[in-house]
């Protein structure tokens, strides 16, 4: 039964841990520790949130403990949340090969602020809602929206910068 849960969530759990610690070995260790912790705490799981949210919270806490990052910094809400138009990510990376695309996206993501990186990962990769991210991080919904907005903007800028320098190097 638990093997089924592991097989369902292992890649998403591992990818989330990898996005936080940026190291395969550490991420795999974190994923294993999180699954063991979840197994031990299954009896205390009250189903107030979904299993995935609960599981991702364990992963995030384990990974942040590993990185010794225990405090969440509340961001200033100076950005307007209404400027929520999509960036041209697809046109920016369309000409890249799949492997290069992966490499550049990861490099750009690693250049972001920790909180922006985590919010983007939870929102887009783990497909969690802002409410669920709030449950995991303890940040307010408006804070998360600002982080997502800034994260997308910074990711786009980083990617643009990286691709520009890559093109320059090729020339």
């Amino acid at each position: 039964m638990y093997t089924l849960l592991i097989n369902t969530y292992k890649n998403k759990v591992f990818s989330l841990a990898y996005a936080i610690v940026s190291n395969r070995e550490d991420a795999e260790e974190i994923a294993q520790d999180a699954f063991v912790k979840a197994f031990r705490g299954l009896s205390s799981f009250k189903e107030r949130s979904s299993f995935s949210t609960w599981m991702y919270r364990i992963v995030v806490n384990t990974a942040l403990n590993k990185k010794k990052l225990k405090k969440w910094i509340i961001v200033e809400e100076t950005d307007q949340i209404i400027q929520d138009e999509p960036f041209g990510f697809d046109s920016l990376t369309a000409y890249l090969k799949s492997d290069d695309q992966k490499k550049f996206i990861r490099m750009a993501l690693n250049a972001l602020h920790e909180q922006e990186k985590l919010c983007l990962t939870l929102f887009y990769l783990n497909e969690l809602s802002v409410k669920e991210i709030r449950e995991i991080t303890g940040l307010s919904e408006s804070n998360i929206k600002v982080l997502l907005l800034r994260g997308r903007k910074h990711l786009y800028e980083q990617l643009k910068k990286l691709l520009k320098s890559e093109v320059k190097n090729l020339i």
Binding site: I6, E28, Q32, V130
Partner: protein, 117 residues
């Protein structure tokens, strides 16, 4: 929050990683080991605690009973000036008996809950 679908597809394609081949097996091994050791130490600890509490209860009860019989003589012997209400010692004994009964009932309920869980 409006979802940026191209970004979502791009991140899912680029950031989704796969674990190493032996991940599930080594994890299940760790879980089996952890659950086995937890079950073993937990029951031992619970048994010991229950026995200690039960033994303490019996010991204190007997001690209180023994002390209660010559209590008046002891009071005279020490020549207390403090005037205590007549129900004072009875209240102490009642409190201790009720305390230990509640304590033991709580332990029994916890042990039962743990077994059911």
């Amino acid at each position: 929050m409006k979802e940026d679908t191209p970004l979502k597809e791009l991140l899912q394609h680029s950031l989704m990683e796969e674990t190493s081949s032996g991940f599930t097996e080594s994890l299940m091994q760790r879980i089996n080991m952890a659950s086995a050791s937890e079950a073993y130490t937990h029951s031992l600890w619970q048994d010991k605690l229950f026995r200690i509490i039960a033994a303490s209860f019996i010991f204190i009860s007997i001690l209180l009973l023994i002390l209660n019989i010559p209590l008046e003589k002891i009071a005279i012997f020490f020549d207390w000036n403090l005037e205590l209400p007549s129900a004072f010692f009875l209240q102490i004994i009642q409190f201790l008996v009720v305390f230990w009964i509640v304590m033991i009932a709580n332990q029994v309920l916890l042990a039962r809950k743990h077994k059911e869980g």
